[in-house]
């Protein structure tokens, strides 16, 4: 037993889990508003991180400016994707929509590899202090920043959905599109907005991960880790998505600890969430916190 390592891994799990939670939240946002399962969520992170990296290194912008430009770009990016690709597919079967987002995923992943190459590239240093000590543990300051940003985003989501006009319109649309429309809410605009916000928030997470680990195609794997998180949390629950993200983050790190100490199977870090996912789907087909669909004829 190595309790310091366990503590460190738990902390890592919480930090990474918070990021998963943020990505899962933006995934759930799209699903709730427009009933589209976005398999290209990870590519949002990837595109956002690369754009920010490019602005910071090739254009030598200061971090805050590059960051803001990236967010603005990604907002437009999400909106354009929705209008150009997803809007013509409204009313098509689920399989078609899923396939369209998968197609988008491959396309942008390959495009990024083409433009920026396959090797991970580090961000220019942003902080002076590389590591700070918290409760006797050495923590990289970027990790703390990422935890802070994740919490901020979550608070922002909470405010957006409970108090702002657009957020309420979005929830109304998610609840019942026809009723929302009859109340004067423009459903196409809500769809486009949900994609825009989702892309922006994912890009934020992408930049944070990029600052910590460097930017590479591995970022898009976050989009796949989202699935265990949302299945754990239930597809239509924003709070559940955050919880699911945290659980997946912890699960990964604990599985790694277990593996390193006793099992020695290797690679449990990547696969453990998927085993959990299959198990949960076997027992509860709608996820842990998801609403069970009662179908009437």
């Amino acid at each position: 037993m190595d309790s310091a390592l366990l503590l460190q891994l738990t902390l890592n799990g919480l930090i990474v889990g918070a990021l998963y939670g943020v990505v899962a939240m933006s995934f759930v946002l799209i699903y709730k508003a427009s009933q589209v399962v976005n398999f290209a969520q990870g590519e949002f992170l990837l595109v956002g991180a690369w754009v920010c990296w490019w602005l910071l290194t090739d254009w030598q912008l200061p971090f805050w400016l590059g960051f803001l430009v990236t967010l603005a770009f990604m907002t437009a990016f999400g909106m354009i994707l929705q209008v150009v690709v997803l809007r013509p597919l409204i009313g098509e079967p689920v399989i078609s929509v899923i396939m369209a987002t998968i197609g988008l995923g491959i396309f942008f992943q390959a495009l990024m590899k083409w433009i920026f190459g396959v090797f991970a590239k580090p961000f220019p240093p942003i902080f002076h202090a590389e590591q700070v000590s918290v409760l006797g543990l050495q923590v990289q300051s970027v990790y703390l920043l990422s935890l802070g940003i994740s919490l901020l985003i979550m608070l922002g989501f909470a405010w957006f959905f409970t108090l702002s006009k657009h957020g309420l319109a979005m929830r109304a649309t998610a609840f019942d599109q026809q009723v929302a429309q009859s109340l004067g809410i423009s459903v196409p605009r809500v769809f486009a907005m949900s994609w825009a916000i989702s892309a922006m928030v994912s890009a934020l997470a992408g930049v944070v991960v990029g600052v910590v680990n460097g930017v590479s195609s591995a970022l898009s794997f976050y989009g796949i880790k989202v699935f265990p998180a949302v299945i754990l949390g239930g597809l239509d629950s924003v709070v559940g998505a955050v919880l699911g993200g945290l659980i997946v983050g912890l699960l990964e790190n604990w599985a790694q600890y277990l593996d390193a100490n006793w099992l020695n199977w290797g690679n449990m870090y990547g696969v453990a969430p998927f085993y959990a996912l299959i198990l949960i789907l076997l027992i509860k087909p709608y996820g842990l916190f998801g609403t069970k669909n009662i179908e009437r004829v």
């Binding site: 399989i95 899923i98 396939m99 369209a100 197609g103 491959i106 396309f107 690679n267």
Partner: protein, 355 residues
């Protein structure tokens, strides 16, 4: 799915309604096509024959996926993993138990079908998106298994396989292996076309079209959903085994998620719920990279090539072409190549009066 029979062309007997090749023209076209492929080694080089073999193998796997996605309405993002399992199973059965390769291929199909049934068990209760995610998990779990199970897959080094042999005839070259693939294609495509005329096949389609009505008509949903997973895995296993004995080497990394997505792309591009469409989609997916390569070659050395680094990043261009093809087909031709082909046929048949 509209069958587009022209007005006034009625079937007057059950026999006529059940036939697979309804007109003399289609039967003739079939024999002609088979004869052309059988004669291909006389005219084509090894590279082109390799492409043909690839189309055949991918066509078998895509047909399996089409039975699952197009006919039963279930989705699977883990088809490549089952394909890979078939490849390793066949190679392993030959090496460990010295079973002749010709027998290993159907055995691999059966083994893969069993694995498919295991992962299909959750599928009995899931649909749409939850199923997509469950099969995604299956993909990663199987991929991880391939990397870990060294006794089965040879680990990082991969596994070397023996060529196909039957009664002393060894198919270790493109010219001879083409016939092995051709035989399997005929078998598998006839099997699928016949399956769809039976009670089981119609039950699958009923599950797709309206599963609640299907259940009320006495169709056991769980049974048919799991069955269709088993059938799809069987096809994937057979195709994987053929792939293993064609390349004579199976590597662990080959069966990744991108490969799975390519299978889905074949099904979408060919046409959901069309048997011949699966083959068309497979041909499209196999030939698409060749077209991209040819395009890059044509531009090689020019200013565009230098500015965009075309030659060095050809693999990314191929991936982009796959993604773009899937999206464009979904938006502009959602019924796939098979539907377009039917339209062309109807156009010629009905010319100049199109109604």
């Amino acid at each position: 799915m509209a069958t587009l029979t022209p007005a006034g062309d009625f079937r007057t007997s059950y026999r006529a309604d059940m036939t697979i090749f309804p007109t003399r023209g289609s039967r003739l076209a079939l024999w002609l096509g088979l004869a052309l492929v059988a004669a291909a080694p006389l005219a084509l080089g090894r590279y082109e024959l390799g492409l043909l073999i690839n189309i055949g193998i991918m066509g078998i796997a895509a047909l399996g996926l089409n039975i699952l996605v197009g006919f039963t309405g279930q989705i699977s993002i883990g088809h490549a993993a089952f394909f890979g399992f078939g490849a390793f199973a066949s190679a392993y059965a030959h090496e460990a138990w010295h079973i002749p390769v010709a027998l290993c291929i159907p055995l691999a199909g059966i083994a893969t079908a069993l694995i498919g049934l295991v992962f299909g068990a959750p599928a009995a209760r899931l649909k749409g998106l939850y199923l997509a995610i469950a099969t995604l998990a299956a993909q990663f779990i199987l991929e991880d298994f391939f990397a870990r199970a060294q006794w089965f897959t040879g680990g990082v080094a991969g596994r070397i396989t023996e060529p196909f042999a039957l009664f002393g005839w060894v198919a270790d070259r493109e010219e001879s292996f083409l016939y092995v693939v051709l035989a399997w294609i005929i078998l598998m495509y006839l099997g699928a076309a016949n399956l769809l005329r039976t009670r089981d096949g119609r039950a699958l389609i009923a599950v797709r079209d309206h599963y609640l009505s299907a259940e009320m008509m006495g169709i056991n949903l769980a049974y048919y959903r799991t069955l269709s997973f088993g059938i799809a895995s069987f096809y994937a296993g057979i195709a994987g085994a053929l792939y293993a004995h064609y390349l004579l080497f199976v590597s662990v990394e080959a069966f990744n998620i991108l490969f799975s997505i390519q299978f889905l792309g074949m099904v979408i591009i060919g046409g959901l719920g069309s048997v011949m469409g699966s083959l068309m989609g497979a041909a499209f997916m196999v030939l698409l990279p060749e077209v991209v390569q040819a395009g890059a070659d044509a531009l090689a050395g020019g200013a565009i090539d230098r500015a965009l680094k075309l030659g060095a990043s050809i693999s990314f261009l191929r991936e982009m072409a796959v993604g773009a093809a899937i999206i464009l087909f979904l938006i502009f031709e959602p019924d796939g190549l098979a539907h377009r082909w039917r339209l062309i046929k109807a156009y010629w048949k009905l010319y100049p009066f199109s109604h």
